[in-house]
């Protein structure tokens, strides 16, 4: 498709809500289908801008894996402001506008033949899920897959059933922890996500890290060493959120020092952002 004379990257395309799944008190999974019938053609880690007309537009990571031959894709949204609450109020069958996919992505080809350690803090599992599901789909091409998940409290856990199923598989190692238990009947690990690190045996020379969560988590994990071996920062990929408006590197909102997070990010190799004072 060659864009016509009046094509503009600012005009959203219609997509239809086909499924809504409640993931926690505040987070819902949305499955959409592009009305043009085409696949979204995204790469793991990329995001889209979603519009509810009359309310506005907001960026969300694409949570499903890239799928050829289908026009459907998923996002998972925390209800926290105007666009996100408007999305939560939409009935199945309703339409939204989408722009994108935008931004950088996890370099999947680089991960081939290597082990991958996923570190998901808070809602970090949402963007990581796209890469994880891709790897599980092409399981033979990758080495070990390890998934660490840290959530503040048991009630904030998302994708609970899905993660339960993953932990029953023998081709992925799943470990989960919560910061504090509250009054639930949580039986699992308690403590911040870094307390899980010593429990995984890593072949550090052969492992890539894909990590999404709050910046404090990054600082801890990046400093972490297993025994006397440390994870090489060149093989650590993180995703950084900023305020985003245009998604095109123009509006200036997402800048981390001189870098536009919407174009050069959201996914960065850790060593590329290490010199940026505003990154973490």
């Amino acid at each position: 498709m060659t864009p016509g004379k009046d094509f503009t990257p600012y005009a959203p395309r219609p997509a239809t809500l086909v499924r809504k799944v409640r993931l926690s008190d505040f987070v819902t999974l949305f499955e959409f289908e592009q009305d043009n019938g085409r696949p979204l053609a995204h790469k793991p880690g990329q995001f889209i801008q979603v519009s509810v007309y009359g309310v506005g537009e907001a960026p969300f990571s694409i949570s499903s894996r890239p799928k050829a031959g289908t026009n459907s894709f998923e996002i998972a949204v925390r209800n926290i402001g105007s666009v996100t609450s408007a999305l939560h109020a939409l009935p199945v069958g309703a339409k939204v506008g989408i722009r994108g996919p935008f931004g950088s992505y996890f370099p999947v080809q680089e991960f081939v033949g290597k082990d991958t350690l996923f570190v998901a803090g808070g809602l970090g599992y949402i963007p990581l899920r796209s890469l994880l599901r891709y790897q599980l789909r092409h399981r033979d091409e990758f080495g070990r897959i390890m998934l660490l998940i840290g959530t503040r409290s048991p009630s904030e856990r998302i994708f609970v059933d899905e993660i339960e199923k993953l932990s029953q598989r023998d081709d992925i190692e799943v470990m989960e922890t919560v910061d504090c238990v509250g009054d639930s009947c949580w039986q699992g690990n308690v403590g911040v996500i870094t307390t899980l690190l010593p429990k995984v045996r890593l072949d550090v020379e052969n492992t890539y890290v894909a990590m999404v969560g709050p910046p404090v988590m990054y600082r801890f994990v990046i400093g972490a060493c297993v025994g006397d071996q440390c994870i090489s920062p060149e093989r650590i990929y993180v995703s950084l959120e900023r305020k985003m408006k245009c998604g095109l590197g123009k509006c200036g909102h997402c800048q981390i020092n001189g870098v536009s997070a919407c174009v050069s990010g959201p996914v960065f190799r850790y060593t590329d952002i290490e010199p940026l004072k505003e990154a973490l």
Binding site: D6, F7, T8, P9, Y10, A11, P12, R13, P14, A15, D35, S51, Y53, G54, G56, E57, A58, I80, G81, T84, K95, V96, G97, E241, R242, K243, K245, C246, L248, G249, K250, C251, G252, H253, Q255, N257, G258, V263, K277, E278
Partner: protein
Amino acid sequence: MSAYIVYQDQLPGLFRLWAKIYKVHVPVQTAPGFYDFAPWEPGGEVAWDYDLTVNPLKRFLLPPREDLVVFDARDYTAKGVFEAPQQLLFGVHPYDLRAVAQLDQLMEHGSPDKNYRRRRDNTVIFAMEPLRIAPDAFWSTMGAGRADIGFDLYWTKIGPATFFVEVGTARGEELLLAGGEVERASAAHHEAARRTREATRRHADAHGLKFPWQELARVMAKAWDDSIWREKSSMCLACGSCNLVCPTCYCFDIREEMDETMTRGRRWRQWDACMLPSFALVAGGHNFRAKHLERYRHRYFRKGKYIFDMIGEPGCVGCGRCIKACTARIANPLTVFNRLWEEYA
């Protein structure tokens, strides 16, 4: 490059011709000592000797509010909006031209901005050598005293009623010759223009940066933890005036509104300002630049380093508008840059 000689008495005729095709804007005095670009009117005064206009040119190319998309909320269709009036800006000083040349590059960089491009394509720029220099200006030492690209014609006043007009584009030449024959410039005219410009330059160079602007990014790179950011920003009112008047500030917000039927609406961009507290504020209350210091520093780093790293010249053209606009008297890039030079040269 070809050049012509135009006499003052030929101008009204030319303006009338241009105004048939273009919305023509010229510098005028709006109050004693204050100037701005305004639509040309037959018989109206042109402020030939203005030193600085209150507003830069960006409003002609990146308006304060510009529609991008119209949408229909019933079927979720959306369509681009491109508005690009035919306009001619007469009497643009070189530093403002330089700022436009920067916008040209930055808007084209990566994903080309079609709305900007179309406006720019429909905008004729007739530049003019300044006859007076604003007290706060330091453009000459920022490398913005002479623009060699971005103009259609370049006018230099070389006598009481004589202009030396250098051709920048074929479109410019055509407009100049639209009214009939125009005298070709002689070698002596070329020499007179060169001398006029040299005099302006000498005068302009007397005030400004104490070091070659080429060194700016290198100096900035060392200045992240400098005490100047705290010192200056402690007085900042976070009003965003410095962003507003700056010819090279182009950050924008995107907003939308439904019409009265609640079925259709429009989405537009409007100027935003990195000095405003809300600029990097996200849902849930986290602010990526919550402190005055962080926002103040960011603005100077954009001017002195980030844009420099992208296009090889400072993102400040030294017009001095922010100096005048800042009621807290802290937005002087020259003071900042010169002090950092003293510390880190």
